[in-house]
């Protein structure tokens, strides 16, 4: 392990850092799990990020910003591994046409002869594992923004700072990510037997 800058960290720093890690760990792990999509990788990501955070602690000027700062390290560590592992083009243009997709609009059709309130029924029946699969299928750039905004409840401005991208890019990735997520859910519902043409209910194929 590197010994860079160790002289600038004290036992008081260590106590403070440990306390912060304890209180943010559920969030860190939740974010890492949804970014990595696997428990083992999420565990490694958390460990690597915390090591970087401890080494970089002297560079943290505003200690009240710890949570955002450490989430930024998680996101950046994830992205640097992702870039190393990945070949092929960036996918920032994927899903441009999905940004306007609305699951509600698909479900809320007079032609859709379901129960009284198809969109409520849909949400009531939506399984956690199906939603998780839909989120996990998103391209990493979009998934990251959706995770940071919807799961970590970060402000657009903070996400932009964290990922070092403009706020406008946060908005567009968020819209595309949510659109794609809803498309996945819609396609899954169709495969599971939802009949958008209102014809006979039929058996699930």
């Amino acid at each position: 392990m590197t010994e860079v800058a160790t002289a600038t960290r004290t036992t008081a720093d260590h106590a403070w850092f440990s306390e912060q890690v304890e209180s943010t760990l559920p969030e860190l792990y939740g974010a890492a799990a949804r970014l990595c999509r696997s428990r083992a990788d999420a565990e490694d990501l958390v460990a690597e990020s915390l090591t970087k955070a401890w080494q970089g602690l002297p560079s943290l000027r505003r200690r009240e910003a710890f949570r955002c700062w450490v989430l930024q390290i998680v996101a950046n560590t994830y992205f640097s591994q992702y870039r190393r592992a990945r070949t092929g083009p960036e996918i920032d243009n994927v899903g441009a046409d999905a940004a306007d997709f609305s699951l509600f609009e698909r479900l809320h059709q007079p032609i859709l002869l379901w129960w009284g309130n198809p969109e409520q029924e849909f949400l009531n029946g939506l399984l956690r594992e199906d939603l998780q699969r839909a989120l996990d299928q998103l391209p990493a750039q979009y998934r990251t923004v959706v995770v940071l905004v919807d799961i970590q409840e970060m402000r657009y401005r903070d996400v932009a700072d964290c990922l070092e991208i403009p706020v406008g890019t946060v908005r567009s990735r968020l819209a595309r990510g949510r659109g794609l997520l809803q498309q996945h859910l819609w396609q899954h519902a169709l495969q599971a037997g939802l009949r958008p043409d209102g014809t006979d209910e039929g058996e699930t194929p």
């Binding site: 160790t6 960290r9 939740g30 609009e105 809320h108 919807d150």
Partner: protein, 85 residues
Amino acid sequence: MTHLEIQNCEDALRVLAEHLDQELDEHLDRQLLEHLDSCRSCYSRSEFDRRLKAQVKDLGREPVPGTVVDRVHELLREFALPPIV
């Protein structure tokens, strides 16, 4: 976005996500709420998107596995070793 006025459903839906993310400025937010009060269709869409967002948020509530807690505690102990001052 601050120069927008919400005059119809299209305007409302354009800013709905930012309303749910609590990113809209107060002026537009108030206008949107007035629209949602009077438009059943947009209100239903808003409630649907709000519930879906809440269900996505729940995906982050995953118990931290014991192996992760143990590994983090071990790391913190390693960090405490000299050459700390």
